[in-house]
């Protein structure tokens, strides 16, 4: 029995013909559209569940509650709501950027639903703490980001409204993009940015024992290699794979390399399961 309210609220999309579920969670500034270079490769072997966080993409903006989404746990609740609405278990959670920590929080709250996490560009804390942790940013950087975002929302119908793409030089683009790409409410986007970049989940890393694959791009300003290493060292059951890909979105800039790393990891995991080994 699927809870259709949650499905509509989070614009849940189900693809693929496999039995085990891969749950894809987009990062700040995007929507489930960002997974489209990745999902085709898994459609034959997995059941793929995609969604937009409330306030992003084609979710129902009316469901946005500023008090709930003032905390990453509010977003983690979206993930858990979807898991219970679809009665998901044995989930491979694939998260990008801030969704890595959201997935971690969800897996800590309902460990029975998740079998492993794949984190693309995770950071448990974006702000330098002034002592010994270097997240990469200062508060003033984040303030400037909020300003840049705000300026980009002035009369930004083009950016936000549904668009139709029909560009023969871009064969990898779908011909029609009928959903908005970014969140359509600047106030929501602003709050998401604040929650994302001002959160600190460093203390949550040590609480987790779920198997994790960390995919780390080699030049990622938002989640630098040092941060990826930090996450790897504190997640006791994690593997770190550093990609040649550059930038914060390897699943878009280098989908092939990203896919290879993912499938290799899942293959090893499945072999290990078959042979009963724990690594």
């Amino acid at each position: 029995m699927i809870d259709s309210a949650v499905v509509a609220r989070n614009h849940v999309t189900i693809l693929g013909s496999g039995t085990q579920t891969m749950l894809f969670a987009h990062g700040f500034g995007c929507s489930q559209q960002m997974w489209r270079f990745i999902t085709p490769a898994f459609e034959d072997t997995y059941r793929l569940v995609l969604f937009d966080y409330v306030g992003s993409g084609a979710s129902q903006l009316g469901a946005y509650n500023p008090e709930r989404y003032a905390n990453l746990n509010g977003y983690a609740q979206d993930v858990l709501d979807i898991c219970s609405a679809l009665e998901l278990t044995d989930v491979i959670f694939v998260g990008h950027s801030v969704s890595c920590m959201i997935g971690l929080l969800a897996s800590l709250k309902a460990p029975e639903r998740f079998s492993r996490l794949i984190m693309i560009g995770p950071s448990p804390c974006y702000i330098n703490d002034g002592v010994d942790y270097v997240g990469g940013f200062n508060r003033t950087d984040i303030e400037e980001l909020l300003e840049t975002m705000e300026k980009n929302y002035i009369g930004w119908a083009n950016f936000l409204a549904p668009v139709v793409i029909n560009d023969p030089t871009q064969p990898e683009m779908t011909q029609e993009l009928n959903e908005s790409f970014c969140s359509t409410d600047p106030l929501i986007a602003r709050q998401f940015a604040q929650v994302t970049f001002l959160s600190d989940n460093r203390s949550d890393l040590a609480k987790s024992s779920i198997p994790v694959l960390i995919l780390q791009a080699s030049q990622d300003l938002i989640a630098p290699v040092e941060v990826g290493t930090y996450v790897h060292q504190r997640l006791r059951n994690s593997e770190l794979a550093v990609l040649d890909a550059i930038g914060h979105c390897p699943h878009m800039s280098a989908p092939q390399e990203t896919l290879q790393a993912m499938t290799a990891y899942l293959q090893r995991a499945s072999n290990a399961n078959t042979h009963g080994a724990v690594y």
């Binding site: 559209q33 950087d141 400037e144 980001l145 980009n152 002035i154 930004w156 979105c249 878009m252």
Partner: protein, 406 residues
């Protein structure tokens, strides 16, 4: 006819091009000049070199994903970083092309320094509008709360009226319907006494006397209860009442009734207030009556009473925690030189209470409290005023409603 490199360099606007990996492959002279760079400074470098940190985040989280998914991006606001470290605000259009099997992202940009000032103002206005909207929402919520509370209050009022009605019925039953059988008991006991005409045994005669005595006491009690209840339910006319002359009247009445000649009353600063003259007289009467009845025994000296008035500010809310509204009140301080109240009585003197040692019911101060309540005031005992008793009475200064309108 294609665009020559020279023409591109002299375009009245910036042009640059970067690879999918983020490497700058071309940049025109106009933009270089605005940024203060030489071509060799930037060619082959990462696009992030041209961006301040906030713009880099925006590039990674919004701009690049947009280019990848839509193949173009329009009217993007970004700050570029000049060689001096200053920010160059630009408006930028970008489109992705495929050249020799690789993706290139082409960008044209215009400086928007003037426009930015204008946008800053618009944004400021927008923030203020949003703020006003949020406050408006807060107001709407407050209104909803108010309606909810009004409903609640209405329900409570209805219940209260119902209870008052029941209380009134019950009071009538006691004060009226009990009077009749009691009157009969007294009557019959009298008749019995007369008929026996001294032929009764001494003990029986004494018992009969006690029946008559008890009945009379009970009738007196019922009479006072009826008076007390009448204070609750009777409508009273409001007049400007001079408290000073009223206090003197009350003292005279007590002197007459108790046949006392040694009451020394001093009043000071007692104003005129709007109120029910009869009730306010009763208030002073009860207080003075108490002072005389419960004076020191044996008598050491005259009963000294001081009544003073003063204007003060006090919280109008009496029952709602956390609510404050300071309003002017007349504070009346009543002090006598009696033995003071027993500490165990302080909490309950304003209720109808049993007087210790006598088994009698005390009504006097309950009546005082009822009268003060009827005038929307408060009465309390100053516990630190020993010896003697000190009452503090507060009456609100501006009252427009008729007291006790049923």
């Amino acid at each position: 006819m294609g665009l020559s490199t020279e023409q591109l360099n002299q375009l009245p606007g910036g042009y640059f091009c970067f690879s999918d990996e983020g490497t700058i492959v071309q940049i025109n002279q106009s933009l270089l000049e605005q940024l203060g760079y030489e071509a060799s400074d930037v060619l082959g470098q990462s696009i992030e070199r041209l961006l301040p940190i906030a713009s880099r985040i925006f590039y990674q989280t919004h701009f690049y994903p947009l280019l990848k998914l839509q193949g173009k991006a329009e009217e993007i606001f970004l700050s570029l970083r000049m060689k001096t470290g200053e920010a160059l605000p630009v408006l930028l259009n970008a489109a992705t092309i495929r050249q020799d099997d690789r993706l290139l992202h082409q960008c044209v940009c215009l400086t928007v320094r003037q426009r930015q000032k204008y946008e800053d103002q618009i944004l400021e206005a927008k923030r203020m509008a949003e703020q006003a909207l949020r406050e408006n929402i807060a107001l709407i919520n407050a209104k909803q709360d108010l309606e909810h509370h009004q409903l609640l209050l209405d329900q409570q009022l209805a219940e209260l009226q119902q209870k008052n009605q029941e209380f009134w019925q019950f009071g009538r039953l006691i004060t009226h319907d009990l009077q009749e059988p009691l009157r009969k008991i007294t009557l019959l006991a009298d008749a019995l006494q007369q008929e026996a005409n001294g032929s009764l045994a001494v003990d029986s005669g004494r018992l009969l006397d006690r029946i008559v005595e008890a009945s009379q006491r009970m009738r007196e009690l019922i009479r006072r209860m009826r008076d007390y209840m009448l204070l609750e339910v009777t409508q009273h006319p409001i007049h400007l009442v001079n408290l000073d002359s009223l206090a003197i009247n009350a003292q005279e009445l007590v002197s007459q009734q108790l046949a006392t000649t040694d009451i020394q009353l001093v009043t000071q600063g007692l104003p005129s207030i709007d109120g029910d003259r009869g009730q306010l007289l009763e208030l002073f009467f009860q207080l003075i009556d108490n002072s005389v009845r419960f004076r020191h025994q044996p008598i050491l000296g005259p009963v000294e009473i001081t009544i003073t008035g003063q204007l003060v500010e006090s919280n109008r809310f009496r029952a709602t925690p956390g609510k404050y509204s300071y309003q002017p009140f007349i504070q009346i301080t009543y002090t006598d030189n009696g033995p003071g109240l027993l500490p165990e009585l302080v909490d309950k003197v304003f209720q109808i209470h049993k007087k210790p040692g006598t088994g009698l019911l005390g009504f006097g101060l309950a009546i005082c409290k009822k009268i003060v309540d009827n005038h929307r005031g408060t009465i309390s005992i100053n516990p630190t005023s020993q010896p003697g008793t000190q009452f503090i009475i507060l009456f609100p200064v501006q009252r427009t409603s008729v007291i006790n309108s049923e």
